[in-house]
């Protein structure tokens, strides 16, 4: 039915305008600010040891969060879609909480739990553990903030597919790990990758929650977004935006990756 029509071009135009105004222009601002002082200034900022350390920490926290949430996401998706469990709705809602919570509060609750005035402090002291205002805390809140992404992208795929293939395999005596690896995983791998990419994007960019819990120790607990803020507050606008471009660049790499993944995912479905 639908032949070419003015509606199509109108919608495409409107969408393009929206994307241009809401996404491309802010991106342009970031890039133009970053290169305000010329390319060599830009290069200087990026090669600064603190920048490199922040990049390292960001990548580490992101990696840790993605790994933990992938493992969790797979188990949760398995638990909540492969079995009829009465309280799965409640669990699903709990998994969604981090989406609904203000990042600032997210950081705060970790600080108020594991920090010096937190109720868990005596326990942590006993074991000589330091969680908040250290890399552990950063990793923890990053995990928190990005927790739902993987579970929630994998779950619909598993849900929609039903359990028959797994049952068939289990009937033949296959164990849990074999079933997952041979039967389930091939179905969800693209969804999983997509979830990982979303999780990564968000983990890299998280500012609010990490800010509360980081302590901002230069060269120790500064992530890239935090470094951006410090540079900015230090009247180094161009430097701040230069550091932001690392994140933008990482994001773009991810997004390209995502497009490839999505493409493969959908062609795999055919």
């Amino acid at each position: 039915m639908g032949k070419k029509s003015p509606v199509k071009y109108f919608l495409i135009a409107l969408s393009s305008i929206f994307v241009f105004v809401m996404l491309i222009m802010p991106l342009a601002v970031i890039l133009s600010e970053a290169f305000k002082n010329g390319f060599s200034a830009y290069a200087n900022v990026l090669s600064d040891s603190f920048t490199l350390h922040a990049l390292q920490l960001t990548l580490f926290a992101t990696f840790a969060a993605v790994v933990c949430n992938t493992v969790f996401g797979l188990f949760a998706a398995w638990a909540l879609t492969r079995f009829h469990y009465k309280r799965s709705k409640i669990l699903t809602t709990i998994i969604d909480i981090p989406f609904a919570i203000s990042p600032v509060i997210a950081g705060l609750i970790f600080s108020l739990t594991f920090g010096r005035i937190g109720w868990a402090q005596p326990i942590l002291n006993y074991f000589h553990l330091k969680i908040v205002f250290a890399v552990t805390g950063i990793v923890l809140v990053t995990i928190f903030v990005t927790l739902p992404f993987i579970a929630r992208t994998v779950m619909p795929v598993l849900h929609a597919r039903g359990t028959e293939e797994e049952e068939a395999a289990a009937l033949m005596g296959a164990g849990g790990f074999t079933i997952f690896r041979k039967i389930t995983f091939p179905h969800i791998k693209w969804a999983l990758l997509y979830g990982i990419i979303l999780c990564t994007a968000r983990a890299m960019g998280e500012f609010g929650a990490v800010s509360v819990i980081s302590g901002h120790l230069r060269g120790k607990t500064d992530t890239l977004p935090l470094l951006v803020e410090i540079l900015y507050n230090d009247f180094k606008m161009a430097d701040a935006f230069a550091v932001s471009t690392i994140l933008v660049l990482l994001a773009l790499v991810l997004l390209i990756l995502k497009n490839i993944v999505e493409y493969k995912w959908h062609s795999a479905k055919e």
Partner: protein, 321 residues
């Protein structure tokens, strides 16, 4: 050199939790101090800096950020750490000048040529003047802005509180944007072209001027306030980590002539009179400076109670009516 057996390896690590924007200042000072410490003890010292909003930084220390020393924007913030039991009482007297090694004051940053002809506080309440200042509730710096204006009003209206409040009301009625932090306000004024005048720390005004020399000028009002960023050793943590001596020396050395010069270079007013005089061309020494401990204010605690607490005078200004 000689090795001190009492000190563990970690004692050469120092964490200084500071506020925005002292990054350059302490970057320079830390180099200076490291050299000094090496000369003194033969040991290397590693100093880790932390920067953020003054209040948030204080909170982070209270909540578990292990700072050996804090160098914050407000005495009030340090007191909060004291109240949490991490700093011993009487820290204000541990170092000279109320434990404030350098000071600053509040000045006006106006657009080049001062088109609205803003010379003093009174010009700010003229209709059509747009003011940019951060929110005293969320920004330490903004509290100094507010208190400087209060000092001016006190002078002008001879302590008539109603008139003073009226003045403050008019002043804040002219405020266009109440950013949450000092830097946000500066961006709003400098980058986004909002308002005619930015109330700012002198050092921050200079930083802006450095970035945009041809666009702005600094106006010194007739009266302002002596902004004293406080420093203190976080006793409990320093003791735990065995850095008390190092921490003390770190702060103490801030008062040395070399360090005072570094402060001046970074647009902070040295407390050392001699050094300050050397930079007389840089800082307007004619501004009359009120002090937080003047009877008008009666110290930070009282100021907080009267002005900034929920329902205090600042809230009354914004009372909905």
């Amino acid at each position: 050199g000689c090795k001190n057996d009492n000190e563990s390896a970690s004692s050469n690590q120092l964490v200084n939790v500071s506020y925005d924007p002292t990054r350059e200042l302490y970057k320079n000072y830390n180099e200076l101090f490291a050299k000094h410490w090496k000369e003194q003890t033969g040991q290397d010292v590693t100093i880790t800096q932390s920067h953020g909003g003054s209040g948030a930084q204080a909170r982070s220390v209270i909540e578990g950020n292990d700072a050996d020393v804090v160098t914050l924007a407000l005495e009030y913030d340090v007191t909060a750490i004291e109240n949490a039991g991490l700093i011993n009482k009487g820290w204000q007297n541990k170092f000279p000048h109320d434990s404030a090694p350098y000071t600053s004051t509040i000045v006006f940053l106006v657009r080049k040529g001062n088109p609205k002809n803003i010379r003093d506080w009174n010009d700010l309440i003229q209709p059509g003047v747009g003011i940019i200042t951060p929110n005293p509730k969320t920004s330490g710096g903004a509290r100094w802005n507010y208190l400087a204006a209060w000092a001016y009003a006190n002078e002008k209206y001879q302590s008539n509180e109603d008139q003073m409040k009226d003045y403050m009301k008019k002043l804040f009625a002219n405020v266009l944007v109440l950013d949450s932090g000092a830097r946000g306000a500066t961006t709003t004024f400098v980058e986004n072209g909002q308002g005619d005048v930015l109330l700012a720390w002198e050092n921050e005004a200079y930083l802006s001027l450095k970035e945009h020399p041809d666009e702005f000028e600094i106006v010194s009002p007739s009266i302002s306030i002596l902004a004293q960023p406080s420093v203190a050793v976080v006793d409990k943590i320093a003791e735990e980590r065995g850095t008390s001596k190092l921490a003390s020396e770190y702060l103490n050395y801030l008062y040395s002539p070399e360090a005072q010069k570094v402060a001046a270079e970074n647009f902070y007013r040295p407390t050392d009179e001699n050094i300050l005089k050397q930079y007389a061309d840089k800082f307007d020494l004619n501004i009359k400076l009120a002090n937080i401990n003047d009877p008008l204010f009666g110290g930070w605690n009282k100021v907080h109670e009267t002005h900034f607490k929920d329902g205090g005078i600042f809230d009354q200004i914004y009372q909905k009516n």
